[in-house]
Symmetry: C2
Subunit: 517 residues, 2 copies
């Protein structure tokens, strides 16, 4: 990742190259401020058609809120409620979402690692929710708390990841009912980047809020987003009690939630790209509006999980053209409403870290960058439709995000005239390798990935004929060997552990598996 920072070794030669190889850069990249134009695949009339279709759905079909408190909240706002179906009119929806901040600062416990979200500001967040991992030996198995800690450490060390997320993998060695406490602590402890909060139940979400209050202070949280929680919808057009309760826990403390319809295109939406977007948009708008009934002005994020379904098997697909197109379109809708937007990155259905995984991930990454996504979740490790998180893929994906960060930052014009001056110096038929401008700028001008091998086949064979998975696992081991835990104030640490100990005494150990995508 050398090229992303000022060159550390300008002397060149073998020693410098060795030093570059032996000291991976683990400094976090700043949050991405995109310089590329977004891919606007709809004209204003088409945006208006989607908006009108979504508003028609909200008014006429309605959205089910399977939650008494939410239904009461909607009724209190003067909205027509028939059974569990809420029919908010477009005027109210527009009025409610108008108070969602267009962008905000997402705070980390190291303020140097705060990031901005919304408008041109984007962040990369690793995958979460995997019931399996492919480990440092590429063995597929159920994860433990130690495995989760490993992913939090890698998240801490990969420059382009701006978050340690939460349950990257499900720690199976810990009771499900208490797991959210240990997951949250692991995120907080092993990284000082931003992190996500569990939303597996309203009470679990309250625990996360309490732990955030310990880490950041109650008053600070009132004014500043310090975590994010994901609330999945049940498409078509249903929000359930678990998610709505968790949403309330977050919004009441002014913490943003991702309002994420869970779309399997063709199975729980119409078999049409624009109609799928219209339904998803209606679903997202209904939840975004509800956040503002919970707490006016609270930050919130337009979200979704989005795949299309194979008619051959019913399996979710990724990296397909319609998913790219829907990302472009949904990005336009989120910008139309002026709300930060979360999408998913590097989704895919490969069972191993093979070529399919590479194509799917890179296609999705490119699409979400051109789409202008802000909260780019599942940016590292996702494979097998989310069933496993791969250590090898995790570090490669994260490097891909660093490359996307560089690309989306646009070309560097700062030394254009100096670079042009080299052309007459070198002249036709010459070469630039010895030119002072090249010597000065080579390491920063062109990104050199650590995890791609561009050597000759002879050199590659001499190096052991290692394919990507093997190289990536070596890289991950090397990173973990160099891991340094960021300092956490001893008093805060103790307070967090006390809280967890108390709650673990209160919560009966249960063993059902909650899974969240």
């Amino acid at each position: 990742m050398t090229v992303l920072t000022k060159p550390r070794a300008r002397a060149g030669g073998r020693a410098a190259r060795r030093s570059i190889r032996s000291a991976p850069n683990v400094d976090m990249l700043p949050g991405l401020t995109r310089a590329l134009p977004t891919c606007e695949v709809m004209d204003p009339d088409q945006i208006a058609r989607i908006d009108a279709a979504s508003m028609d759905i909200l008014e006429n079909v309605g959205v089910v809120f399977r939650d008494e408190i939410a239904l009461a909240d909607w009724r209190r706002a003067g909205v027509k409620v028939v059974g569990e179906r809420v029919h908010p009119d477009r005027g109210l929806v527009r009025d409610l979402i108008a108070t969602i901040p267009a962008d905000f600062t997402y705070h980390a416990r190291d303020p140097q690692k705060n990031v901005r979200l919304g408008g041109p500001h984007s962040i990369f967040v690793p995958m979460t929710g995997a019931p399996y991992l492919r480990d440092l030996d590429d063995v597929r198995r159920n994860p433990t708390l130690d495995d989760l800690a490993m992913f939090h450490k890698l998240s801490h060390m990969m420059p382009a990841l701006h978050s340690s997320a939460h349950h990257i993998v499900e720690p199976y060695d810990h009771p499900i009912s208490q797991r959210h406490l240990r997951i949250t602590y692991s995120s907080m402890k092993h990284s000082d980047k931003t992190f996500m909060g569990m939303t597996t139940s309203p009470r679990n979400a309250e625990d996360v809020m309490e732990m955030c209050a310990i880490l950041f202070g109650e008053a600070f949280m009132e004014e500043h987003p310090v975590t994010t929680g994901n609330c999945n919808g049940n498409s078509p057009l249903v929000w359930d009690e678990t998610m709505l309760g968790a949403m309330r826990a977050f919004c009441r403390r002014n913490q943003p939630v991702l309002c994420s319809p869970f779309v399997l295109g063709g199975a729980n939406t119409p078999a049409s790209v624009p109609a799928t977007v219209a339904q998803l948009n209606a679903e997202a708008l209904s939840a975004l509006a509800y956040t503002q009934l919970i707490r006016r002005g609270c930050p919130a994020i337009y979200g979704h999980y989005l795949s299309t379904v194979s008619m051959r098997s019913g399996a979710p697909m990724a990296g397909t053209p319609e998913i790219s197109l829907m990302n472009f379109m949904i990005g336009q809708m989120a910008r139309f409403y002026g709300v930060p937007w979360r999408t998913s990155n590097t989704l895919g259905g490969a069972k191993t870290f093979d070529a399919q995984a590479g194509y799917e991930s890179a296609t999705t990454l490119s699409a979400v960058i051109h789409a202008g996504a802000n909260y780019i979740w599942h940016s590292a490790g996702w494979n097998e439709a989310g069933m496993h998180c791969s250590v090898a893929k995790f570090v490669v994906d994260a490097e891909q995000c660093a490359m996307a960060h560089r690309m989306a930052s646009g070309p560097y014009w700062g030394d254009f005239d100096a670079a042009l001056a080299a052309i007459p110096d070198v002249g036709p038929g010459g070469h630039y390798l010895g030119h002072p401008h090249t010597q000065e700028n080579f390491q920063t001008a062109f990104f050199m990935p650590d995890l791609f091998d561009n050597n000759s086949i002879e050199q590659w064979a001499a190096d052991g004929s290692k394919e990507t998975t093997e190289r990536a696992l070596i890289h991950a081991r090397r990173l973990l060997d160099a891991y340094e835990e960021p300092t956490l104030d001893a008093g805060l640490n103790e307070a967090l552990l006390d809280y967890i100990a108390r709650r673990e005494r209160e919560i009966p150990a249960a063993d059902a598996l909650n899974q969240e995508y």
Copy 2:
């Protein structure tokens, strides 16, 4: 590739699924007419800066034309020539390139497979020039004429490939000095799509012209492009006698050449993205202008080979952020001059068809689509920095191009209202799989790749735990088993073989290796 055509099996169920799997669609997709906006990473001032810098290079540094005829042509046009350096002024350059057609129809021997090039019109052309292949058993070895024929057959059968190109792999079992004849014949015989013509020497290019005259008729060729030839520059700022002679052979017959500076960014250009583009642009303009000195109004294509160089090894890199950025920028320059634009797809340095190959290829494919490239060369098979063409990668890349074709065609709005009508029918909490609109549109609404496996890991294991390479090779074998050679008029076939036989008697067999990228 089922989803690209009208559904052939609407009954559904296991039998229908089996029939979809057993009958791959080999109908060529029409040439791509892009509906996506291009990624405009430069504003008009920055485009003007690149243009001015390139014109300054042409006027002040000059470009070497290592060819007496070309130097005489430039002198006759009133241009300052100092030694081998040509210094055309910007007025003349603009005047010359103004007569290059902004788009044209590229003719195939089956007129149904004609394609348009330029503006929003794009085509996918497979890789060429590989000295090795990875064969149907994934063994890396030198190729034969039979291997070349195999790739021409696969090109003929993959829907998104619009060309059978020329020497996809180098047929090592045939003398180098006569090879161009057999290569050209193989392209013409095994496919009725467009094809490329060899430019390995001026005389070889003449042979290609003669064979095209046999196939299409002399008079037809005078009015219609029927092949394309690539002419590489030697960056920085040199065009050699071989390429210029081949260029004349093509242009005199009104056949388009790709004017392709061969850029290893940082080694033969400055270590700067915009300065590399400025130099490449000057190089391309000088050759494009020269095509119009050869024959005014002749079609020509702005081209390049483009990589950046790793300072660790000197190796070319692909799929890196600067290559995407330069593609966006070069696309803008080509559109600024109103000339069709060739770039390279799916470049990469992986030694096997592993995850690296997938990331590199998908990243490049996405970039060149968003960049708005017209002639998208090296779209299938490229691996190991072009040292080998992989059968497995060939068919996967070609399917990726079909997906990109679908994406770049934009969302389908035709049944938006009908699709929306399904939403109240299904209602909150329902599913769409049984809805008539879904039944009617599922196969066409969402692309279902043949070569990605989205099954559960249990199903995948039951199917033999096949990774992408293995699945792709099975697919390639299945295609080749189903191959049907397109009819070639017996008289034309005989005339071509007579021409080859005569020329093989005239040309001494030689064994040096010419390689072209």
